[in-house]
Symmetry: C2
Subunit: 464 residues, 2 copies
């Protein structure tokens, strides 16, 4: 026993030398020894006096460490029986390492995968300035539990911005902040289910994660085919759906702008059936050639839920989105959001509010719009006759239509160039009956500025 205690003491000593407090180090060392089984369950420990002498530390330190471990259940202390290692002290170590599954995109040297802005363009300095002002001006209550709609400062800043820049009827009272578009869509899906809606119309091309969110909430999706005029909203009447998810300003990913007639058809359908339009305005800020196209929500704020996000205009990493909700739906939205779901940090909310108020948001969008527009022009010029480029009046991606067999060849060639590319077919709804298009969705917003030229060259090489 003496020997094992000597070993034990030496180990402890190592721990104690590691710069932690004496008591903390001793406690940790004893806990580990009990946990690992090095100290067997039932083993009687030396008295605090003798261990203290052994280690050359105060007796009280040992006694306190023992007491803590008794409180935690590692040791037992019974009158007359001394301090022992508890029977269940042999805690199971965590199960052996198994690979943790996580969704990762394949890493390539170059990437034109759509869906991301140029992350190198994030306005770090401006954001920090806004954070400084926000932190110095925030009332104390801002750090507490808060309005489930989000901070009023941000809702007010957004209301002004959305009315001005996107033609949205935006009352701060009816704005609900959320952790990005997907969070908002999840809340709306729950709301629709609670209303006994069974089916939601979605565009024939779109994001599978959004469709999965809807089906995950128990809703079926029904295809609205997409053409050069956007989604065929005339198919809504008689379809029996309770809602429709649309990207009117810039169809994702085909890039069409929903025509006035089709906007009107959607609103007419919603009015006559009581249906709901979910407007995904993911990149409405980035329009190049034409007049800005305002939000559909302006046509009927009582039948459209407008969803916006900072993911394209600033960064997805902010996890910041917003909904402008018809008044008649506010109670239901707040009910599904729940009293305990505030989603995003009040500091970040106040920072974004300050960023918008100060004009930094507008300046940033303007600057990035120029950058993306330049890239778009270079893309069109570089692609030349190799593909028909479309969907480029706005946004951070373009569609390149290829000749028959071109999609597969391009993807194979891109792999050789170590270039990440997404085919249009990836976005196709499985139920779509539209004639398939051989095309690529090129996210020209994605590369960092320094890699843009090389990435473009890799694309051109892949199209040869």
């Amino acid at each position: 026993m003496t020997e094992s205690w000597a070993t034990f003491g030496a180990d402890l000593h190592l721990e104690l030398a590691a710069g932690r407090g004496l008591r903390a180090g001793l406690t940790e060392a004893l806990r580990e020894a009990a946990r690992s089984g090095r100290l067997a369950p039932g083993l009687r420990l030396p008295s605090s006096r003798s261990l203290a002498a052994d280690l050359g530390i105060a007796r009280n330190t040992v006694a306190e460490a023992y007491a803590e471990l008794v409180a935690e259940g590692w040791l037992t202390a019974r009158q007359g029986s001394g301090t022992r290692v508890a029977e269940r002290a042999r805690a199971r170590r965590p199960a052996p390492a198994a690979p943790v599954r996580r969704p990762v995109r394949p890493k390539t040297s170059y990437s034109l995968m759509p869906g991301s802005p140029d992350l190198g363009g994030f306005p770090r300095a401006g954001w920090l300035s806004a954070a400084r002002r926000a932190l110095s001006e925030a009332p104390n209550e801002a750090f507490g539990y808060a309005d489930p709609r989000g901070r009023v400062e941000l809702r007010e800043a957004l209301a002004g911005y959305l009315a001005r820049a996107r033609g949205v009827y935006a009352d701060p009272e009816r704005i609900v902040l959320c952790a990005g578009f997907a969070h908002g869509l999840m809340l709306l899906a729950k709301l629709l289910r609670a209303r006994r809606v069974r089916e939601v119309a979605v565009e024939g091309y779109g994001l599978d994660v959004h469709r999965d969110l809807l089906t995950g909430a128990g809703l079926r999706t029904r295809v609205l085919e997409v053409d050069a005029a956007g989604a065929c909203t005339r198919a809504l009447p008689g379809s029996g759906v309770g809602a429709v998810l649309l990207t009117p300003a810039h169809q994702f990913p085909t890039g069409a702008a929903l025509t006035p007639e089709r906007r009107a058809a959607a609103v007419d359908w919603a009015r006559s059936t009581g249906g709901l339009i979910l407007e995904d305005d993911y990149d409405g800020e980035f329009r190049y050639d034409r007049q800005p196209v305002g939000a559909l929500q302006g046509l009927d704020p009582d039948r459209v839920v407008y969803l916006g996000t900072a993911s394209k205009s600033l960064a997805p990493g902010l996890r910041m989105g917003w909904m402008v909700v018809p008044r008649s739906l506010m109670d239901e939205v707040l009910a599904v959001k729940g009293p305990t779901d505030w989603s995003s940090s009040a500091i970040e909310q106040l920072t974004l509010a300050e960023f918008i108020r100060s004009g930094a948001y507008d300046r940033h969008v303007r600057e990035m719009r120029l950058r993306y527009r330049r890239r778009r022009d270079e893309l069109v010029a570089a692609v030349g006759e190799r593909a028909a480029v479309s969907g480029i009046a706005a946004g951070l991606h373009a569609v390149l239509d290829l000749a028959a067999g071109g999609e597969r060849a391009a993807l194979r060639a891109a792999a050789w160039q170590d270039l990440g590319l997404q085919p249009l077919s990836f976005f196709r709804h499985p139920d779509s009956v539209a004639p398939p298009r051989e095309a690529l969705v090129v996210g020209f917003g994605t590369p960092p500025q320094s890699a843009w030229s090389a990435t473009l060259a890799a694309l051109v090489a892949a199209l040869l």
Copy 2:
């Protein structure tokens, strides 16, 4: 017609003078006029040339505004028919204002409502410094879509901190960040439902919002009565529950520390039945008199999900929480979290990581611990013989047991003092059969430092 145009022009002019760009101002004015019905559907607009002359602006500006409004569906332009207000342009105005329901606590001059730290103690300067370093060091990819578990930098910082300060077996690979405790509990409730668990044991006193979260996910709750030794975990075997939600370090709100025997009983139950322990370690950092009490999770990291939060140690407004998940559950947790739920801003995550790494978190906790300890001592001294104070070895609140009839009298007197107070009965599970206690839960952490003395005086007055 001339007259109405004159009116119209004058209104436009007002808009145009408001400092917006000419085209934007004109577009907005026309849109509003169509929206409000002031321009009737079908009405033919003047030619762009004549309106331009009328307003004294370039014809192109008018033509561009017309084109934008046609694209948005407010106007129609047909060859030979000129530009007209669209038939459905009479957009419905948002429904008339109805009061938006939102949960608010009654506002009182003084508050001892439990559940909040002193929001005035938020370390604004230190947080901003950490944000500055985080923003300057963050790789670009940090601003993008990310690992659904959260940033690795924060998971690593937390793993070190939790092992050191809370005795948690914390592998960064098994930490999942969430938007506060409630978000984590919601995910776990979904996971339990997916595992076909029907019932979860909860403590006889606890937060109704947590119980509601469980029942909202389709789970029933079953009471574990609470006494001075914490929750009666010996009642777990045979209860048929699939999981138990516990506050072992500091029962909320009674303040008991779960005894070693009861910890062991919980772990034994979990091991023998395959049940899961959800450990809510909401204020484990704030322990005053006794040795720190480590987390229950250390006893069996494969059967305990540890849930921590920055809501008490820093601020609820951060919406930052974390789970340490048994390896065997990681896939399921990530599945319910979904690929599109990242919850909190990467910048805030990196800031908190930096705040912990730099030692600022430890310093802040130490400083606040001193502050709360001082308040606790003053509370005990001030209350004196008026009530039996308990649950004060840790945390930000105390329980004041009163004589029969005392609770009601104290609440009435507190209302006169304009003091917010919560009775213990508020936290009682409706199914609890324990003899009721007349008591108050006093959140001495809640008041700002400047109001502490006055708040304490109001409490004493209410207890007279």
